[in-house]
């Protein structure tokens, strides 16, 4: 089975993700897949959920925080500026407080809290998480390609979704119970009805957002998650571990792509011992990959002669990934 086939056989797929250790080529494959799909006539958005995004580098165009930027016909790329989003969000909250209570300025204690909350480390992840929901609910594209963060972050992202979900269920239940007590008091005092609980509505909104986002990550019909691995011992071990963890979170694993394979044909030429050793070592690791992942490997990608940046090299990589 090739990568091209998996796309042809699953036309209902909309969300494509590449995962793996940092620096193995996730951004490269995201960009190359986006390029190939766009050439097939689909409208594609490739976007980065990594605070240290590198799509700008690969497309050689500054797209950071500029929304969806058209790279070529049908191909759009976006890098989410988490800081900017947090600042806008803080301003929105401040404005809401001023409007609700008719104040001229936010009370000092509340302002301090708003400032402190924005400095929390989880804030950035949450802001990006939330921004992704905005992007995918708009449904403007045929394919959404997530340029995923390195494994640890991705797992954090997933576990955060399930923790949030349970958490919000609990506080929503508490809130509903509170509502019941208000109603009892209202009935006793013969008031028509208690005031509608705006907080309950907020909680339900938050829950809906979180479910939408984590729902996509675990949707077997519409989501494909590809793992990127290279023929090196540490990478193989880490990937196997990560694949196990992802399976635990019900992420649909759709296959592996082996990157950075030094072409075997080099062994026929006069090459230094250094390279010959590397080739031998690689042979062993490729055998391990073949044995353990075998049929799930969708493509072996050779180490190209130079960095993959710019549309020319992306096209070349797309050819390696999908064939013509």
């Amino acid at each position: 089975m090739s990568l091209k086939h998996t796309f042809e056989e699953n036309p209902e797929r909309r969300y494509i993700m590449f995962g793996g250790k940092g620096g193995l080529g996730k951004t490269t494959f995201s960009a190359a897949s986006a390029y190939w799909l766009a050439k097939q006539g689909y409208r594609v958005l490739v976007f980065s959920v990594d605070p240290q995004a590198s799509l700008s580098d690969i497309f050689q165009q500054d797209i950071f925080g500029k929304g969806a930027v058209e790279i070529m016909p049908n191909l759009y790329a976006q890098e989410i500026d988490a800081d900017q989003r947090i600042r806008e969000y803080q301003a929105e909250i401040r404005q809401k407080i001023l409007d609700m209570y008719g104040l001229d300025q936010v009370p000092e204690e509340i302002e301090n809290y708003i400032q402190a909350a924005a400095a929390e480390p989880a804030m950035e992840e949450s802001a990006i998480f939330d921004a992704v929901v905005d992007i995918v609910v708009s449904a403007d594209y045929d394919y959404y390609i997530y340029d995923l963060v390195p494994l640890g972050h991705a797992l954090y992202y997933l576990s955060m979704a399930s923790v949030y979900d349970q958490w919000i269920d609990k506080i929503t239940a508490l809130r509903s119970e509170m509502e019941e007590y208000s109603q009892v008091a209202a009935v006793m005092q013969r008031k028509k009805e208690s005031q509608e609980d705006a907080i309950l509505r907020e909680l339900q909104y938050i829950k809906e957002r979180i479910n939408k986002s984590s729902g996509i990550l675990t949707d077997r019909q519409r989501t494909a998650f590809f793992f990127v691995v290279i023929p090196e011992e540490m990478a193989i071990l880490d990937t196997k571990k990560a694949a196990g963890l992802f399976a635990k979170y019900d992420v649909p694993l759709s296959g592996y792509i082996v990157n950075r394979v030094i072409p075997e044909s080099l062994a026929q030429e006069a090459i230094p011992d250094y390279l010959r050793h590397r080739l031998d070592m690689q042979k062993g690791h490729l055998a391990t990959i073949e044995r353990e992942l075998g049929s799930e490997v969708l493509a072996y990608i050779p180490e190209l002669e130079r960095d993959i940046t710019g549309l020319g090299m992306i096209e070349k990589m797309a050819y390696e990934l999908f064939g013509g």
Binding site: Q90, S126, L174, Y181, A185, I199
Partner: protein, 90 residues
């Protein structure tokens, strides 16, 4: 509405108020007091980082902040005050 009917209506209203005072008032006061305690619990688990106890991810606790602004100062007082004998009487 005739005068007699008006008298009758106001009599029933008064009777309802007396009944409420006898039976319902305590119950509704109790319900509101319970609700008040729960409100404080709710703020603790959503806005906990105001006291240095982060529980809800801050991105989402900010969404709830505007609704609890008036309660925050009484809540903080309640959470941070020391307990003494007179609390048992409250």
């Amino acid at each position: 509405m005739s005068e007699e009917e008006q008298n009758k209506a106001s009599f029933f209203d008064t009777a309802k108020s007396i009944l409420y005072g006898l039976a319902g008032h305590d119950m509704s006061r109790y319900a509101l007091k319970t609700r008040g305690s729960m409100e404080h619990l709710f703020i603790l688990i959503t806005m906990g980082d105001l006291l240095g106890i982060p529980i809800l991810p801050p991105y989402y606790s900010l969404r709830i902040l505007p609704y609890v602004v008036p309660q925050i100062s009484t809540w903080k007082r309640r959470m941070l005050r020391e307990r003494d004998l007179t609390d048992a009487l409250a």
